[in-house]
C-alpha cells in the first residue's frame, strides 16, 4: 500500500473480523437470523392455510346445501378431470345430519353455501367439510373448495347477467395520475401513490435496520482501544487513519454479511415454498389490500445495481456520522449522549421517507431526493416509482457520496484527535475548535517533518 497513513489497514481488518466471528454470541445471532429468514415463508404459508392441489381425488360423493337465492352451476367442477366421477347430491338437511353422513362415508364431503351478515354488508360463504377419519385429505377438500368457489362466482355473475368483460371493467378500478407534458409525451409512467408509499416505507425500514446495526458496531469499534487502554501501545504500530479504516471495513463486513445471511435465508425460504406455488399465496394479499402493484415499478437489473450502490453509500454516511460521535466517547456511558446525532439522522430520514410520498408533490420528492439526510432514504424509491428520473437520481448519488466522503474524512480526523482525549463528550463547537487547533499544529509541523510519513 503506497499511502503510509493506510499501512496496516489489512491487518486491522483481519484481526477485527477474526475476533468478531470468534465470539459465540455473534455466530449464534447469525444462525438465528438465518433460521428466522428461512422459516418465514413456510410459516406464512402454513398460517395462510394455503395447501397445494391434489393430483387425484378420493372424494366420490359431495352433498351440496345451497341456502342462497340463486342456483349454483357445477358443470365447471365436473369438467375438471380429477372430479369427473364426482357424484353431487343437492340436499337441505341440517348440519348434524349432514355431518353424520360425511362421517359415515369415507369418500364423502359436504359443501354449504350461505349468506352471512358481515360488519358492513352480507357476504357469501362457502364451506367444504370432510370427515377427519375418512380417506379425504385436507388438500383434497381444499382443491374441491377452490373449484366450487370459482363455480359459485361464475353462477353469481350469471344470475346478475354480468358478462366477463363487464366484470373486468367493474373490478379494474380507476387509476388517476398527474404528469408533466414532457413526462406524458415521453411515456414516463409513475406508479400510484399507494405503491410509492409502500416502496418508500419498505426501503426506509431497510435503511433504518442497516444504519441501526451499523451505529452500534461503529461506536463499539471507535471506543474499543480507549476503553481497553491499549490505544497508545497500538499507535506506535499503526496510524489512527489505518486503524479506523480497517475497523470500518470490518464493520461493513459484519453488517453486510448479516444482510447476506438474511438474503440467503429468504432464498432458502422461497425454495421451500416453491413446490407449494411460491408467492402465490401472498401476492393477491399484497396487491389487493395494500393496492401495491409490482407492475408499476421500474425494477430492472440496473435498479439492482443502483440499490447496491445506494446501500453502500448509506452505510458510509451512517458510519461517518457514527464515527464522529463514537470517537468523542471515552466510556460506555458516553454513548447515550453521543448516539443522539445518529438517531436524529435516522429519524429525520425515516420520517421524510415515510411521509413525503403522501404529499404527491414533485417539489417535495425532488427536495427529499437531493437533501443529503433524506436522500439516502428517498432517492432510490422515488426513482423506482418513477417520481424522479435517472439524471436526478445520479445527481442525488453524487451528493450522497460527497457527503459520505466528507463525513468519513471528518470522522478520521476526529478519531485521530480524540484517541488520547479523556473526559465528557465535547460539544460540536468545542470539536470544531479542537479540529482547527489541531490542523494549525499539523500545518506548523508539516513545514519541518511529516508525521507518519516515509
Amino acid at each position: 500500500m503506497k499511502n503510509p497513513e493506510l499501512h496496516g489497514v489489512g491487518t486491522v481488518f483481519r484481526y477485527t473480523v477474526q475476533q468478531h466471528y470468534k465470539t459465540p454470541s455473534v455466530v449464534a445471532f447469525l444462525v438465528i437470523l438465518f433460521l428466522l429468514a428461512a422459516g418465514s415463508m413456510p410459516l406464512a404459508l402454513l398460517m395462510s392455510g394455503h395447501e397445494s392441489e391434489v393430483e387425484e381425488t378420493k372424494i366420490h360423493t359431495l352433498y351440496l346445501r345451497n341456502e342462497c337465492a340463486f342456483s349454483i352451476v357445477t358443470d365447471s367442477v365436473l369438467a375438471d378431470e380429477r372430479y369427473q366421477a364426482l357424484k353431487i347430491t343437492e340436499t337441505d338437511e341440517d348440519d348434524d345430519t349432514l355431518s353424520e353422513k360425511v362421517l359415515a362415508e369415507a369418500d364423502a364431503a359436504a359443501a354449504v353455501i350461505s349468506m352471512k351478515d358481515g360488519m358492513l354488508m352480507p357476504s357469501l360463504t362457502l364451506r367444504t367439510v370432510y370427515g377427519e377419519n375418512g380417506d379425504v385429505t385436507s388438500a383434497d377438500a381444499e382443491t374441491l373448495n377452490h373449484l366450487l368457489e370459482n363455480a359459485l362466482h361464475d353462477s353469481l355473475m350469471a344470475s346478475l347477467a354480468i358478462t366477463k368483460d363487464q366484470e373486468a371493467i367493474v373490478n379494474s378500478g380507476v387509476t388517476s395520475r398527474v404528469a408533466r407534458i414532457a413526462d406524458y409525451r415521453a411515456g414516463a409512467e409513475e406508479s400510484n401513490t399507494d405503491t410509492h408509499v409502500f416502496v418508500n416505507m419498505f426501503y426506509c425500514y431497510f435503511i433504518m435496520i442497516l444504519c441501526g446495526i451499523s451505529i452500534g458496531y461503529v461506536f463499539q469499534q471507535c471506543m474499543e482501544e480507549k476503553v481497553s487502554k491499549l490505544v497508545e501501545s497500538l499507535l506506535v504500530s499503526v496510524s489512527p487513519t489505518a486503524l479506523l479504516t480497517g475497523k470500518l471495513l470490518a464493520v461493513m463486513l459484519f453488517v453486510f454479511s448479516g444482510l447476506a445471511v438474511v438474503g440467503l435465508g429468504f432464498f432458502v425460504s422461497f425454495q421451500l415454498i416453491k413446490p407449494f406455488g411460491g408467492f402465490g399465496f401472498a401476492a393477491p394479499t399484497v396487491e389487493n389490500i395494500l393496492h401495491f402493484s409490482f407492475a408499476d415499478l421500474h425494477f430492472t437489473l440496473p435498479t439492482i445495481l443502483l440499490f447496491v450502490v445506494c446501500i453502500l453509500i448509506a452505510f458510509a454516511m451512517c458510519a461517518g456520522l457514527s464515527g464522529i460521535s463514537g470517537s468523542c466517547c471515552s466510556k460506555t456511558e458516553d454513548t447515550q449522549q453521543a448516539s443522539l446525532v445518529s438517531m436524529t439522522f435516522l429519524l429525520t430520514g425515516y420520517l421524510a421517507g415515510a411521509f413525503a410520498p403522501m404529499f404527491e408533490s414533485d417539489a417535495v420528492n425532488i427536495f427529499c431526493s437531493l437533501f443529503p439526510v433524506t436522500s439516502v432514504f428517498t432517492a432510490l424509491p422515488n426513482y423506482t416509482c418513477g417520481k424522479i428520473g435517472l439524471p436526478l437520481l445520479l445527481l442525488a448519488l453524487v451528493i450522497q457520496a460527497l457527503t459520505a466522503l466528507f463525513l468519513m474524512r471528518t470522522a478520521g480526523r476526529v478519531y485521530k484527535m480524540m484517541l488520547l482525549y479523556r473526559g465528557g463528550v465535547p460539544k460540536p463547537a468545542q470539536i470544531i475548535r479542537m479540529l482547527k487547533e489541531n490542523k494549525a499544529a499539523e500545518k506548523a509541523a508539516a513545514g519541518k517533518e511529516a508525521p507518519h510519513a516515509e
Partner: protein, 312 residues
C-alpha cells in the same frame, strides 16, 4: 546516528504544556525524562511518537524525521491495557503483524519472551485431563501478569528505540527484578532507551543522561555522573552515641534533619567535613558513622523542582 529532540513545544489554548524541550542521544544508552505530575513528560513522549500534533520542534532519528516507518519503536505506555476479551496469543500475533514481523518469526519471539518473562503458563496452557484447554484471555490475568504481556507487546518487534513510561509501577519485588533484568539486557544489546519514572532509585540504576521537567520547562539536563560531580560531596551523615548538635553547628555546618543522635547535614565542601571530623576525634567522641557523599538523584530532583515552585 542517534536520536534528538529539538525545541519541542506544545500548548493547549493559552497553557504551555511543553516548553521548548531539547535533548539528544548520540549513542545507545538510557535517557531519563523526569518530572513532577503534569510536568509534560507523557505529552512530550506522545509528540515524539507523533501521537500528538506538535506546535513546534522536531524529532529526529538517524538524521531524518522519526516516524513509524523510519524507526522501529517499542513503547510501554503509562496508561496500558489489553483487549480484555481476546486471547493473549491473538493479541501478540496481531501486534507482531502490525509491526511487519512474519508469523513464524512472531511465534519464535513470543515463545522466547514467554519463557524470559515467566509467562509460559498463560500463553501455552497445559491440557488437564480430557477437557479441552481454552486459551487465556487478558481479563483472566492479574495486573502484574498483564504488565508482562504489555512489555512483550513493546519488545516483539525487537525495537531500536524503546520508550518505557513508568515500567516498574505496580510490580511486586520479584517481577520488578525480572523487568530490571530485561532492561539491562536491552541496554547491553545496544538499544536506545528513554525512560520515565517517579522511582528515582530505578532511574539512577539505569540512566546515563537525564532531563528534569517542572511545569513544562527544563530545569536540569545533562549527564547524571557530571551533575552529581558538579554538586560535589556535600551530603554528610553522622551517627554517634551522644548529642553532637553543638559541635556540628560550631563548625558552621547546616543540619537538615536529625533523629536521636543521627544527623543529616549539608556541608560547603570536603574541607568543612574534615575539620569537623578532626574536632570530634580530638575530643574522643565515639562515632558509629561518618559518611560524606554526593547528593542522590532524589535529592537533586527535589531541590530543582522545589526551586521552580518557589520561583513561580
Amino acid at each position: 546516528m542517534g536520536f534528538s529532540v529539538t525545541e519541542l513545544y506544545k500548548k493547549y489554548g493559552e497553557k504551555v504544556v511543553v516548553d521548548h524541550l531539547s535533548f539528544k542521544m548520540d549513542q545507545p544508552g538510557v535517557y531519563a525524562l523526569l518530572g513532577t505530575n503534569g510536568a509534560g513528560k507523557t505529552t512530550s513522549i506522545r509528540m515524539i511518537l507523533n501521537m500528538l500534533a506538535k506546535d513546534g520542534g522536531t524529532v529526529e532519528w538517524n538524521g531524518g524525521p522519526l516516524t513509524l516507518r523510519t524507526c522501529n519503536v517499542g513503547y510501554l505506555a503509562e496508561e496500558r491495557g489489553l483487549y480484555p476479551k481476546n486471547t493473549l496469543m491473538d493479541q501478540l500475533m496481531y501486534f507482531a503483524a502490525l509491526r511487519g514481523v512474519s508469523r513464524d518469526e512472531a511465534k519464535k519471539r513470543i515463545r522466547y519472551w514467554a519463557e524470559r518473562l515467566d509467562a509460559v503458563e498463560y500463553l501455552y496452557p497445559k491440557q488437564e485431563g480430557k477437557k479441552p484447554v481454552k486459551p487465556k484471555k487478558a481479563d483472566q490475568l492479574s495486573k502484574g501478569n498483564q504488565q508482562k504481556i504489555q512489555l512483550m507487546l513493546s519488545l516483539l518487534s525487537d525495537p531500536e528505540l524503546l520508550i518505557l513510561d513508568e515500567p516498574l509501577s505496580g510490580l511486586d519485588p520479584v517481577n520488578t527484578d525480572l523487568f530490571k533484568g530485561i532492561i539491562h539486557e536491552e541496554i547491553e544489546k545496544g538499544k536506545y532507551l528513554i525512560m520515565s519514572s517517579h522511582q528515582m532509585a530505578t532511574i539512577e540504576e539505569f540512566c546515563t543522561d537525564l532531563t528534569i521537567l517542572s511545569r513544562s520547562k527544563t530545569v536540569l539536563q545533562g549527564n547524571l555522573a557530571d551533575i552529581k560531580k558538579s554538586y560535589g560531596r556535600i551530603n554528610l551523615f553522622i551517627k554517634a552515641e551522644q548529642e553532637l548538635r553543638d559541635e556540628i553547628e560550631a563548625a558552621g555546618i547546616t543540619i537538615l534533619s536529625s533523629v536521636g543522635f543521627s544527623y543529616q547535614c549539608r556541608v560547603t565542601g570536603e574541607a568543612q567535613a574534615n575539620a569537623l571530623l578532626k574536632t570530634l576525634v580530638s575530643r574522643e567522641i565515639p562515632l558509629i558513622a561518618f559518611e560524606l557523599r554526593e547528593p542522590s538523584l532524589h535529592e537533586i530532583f527535589v531541590e530543582k523542582v522545589g526551586e521552580t515552585h518557589e520561583e513561580s
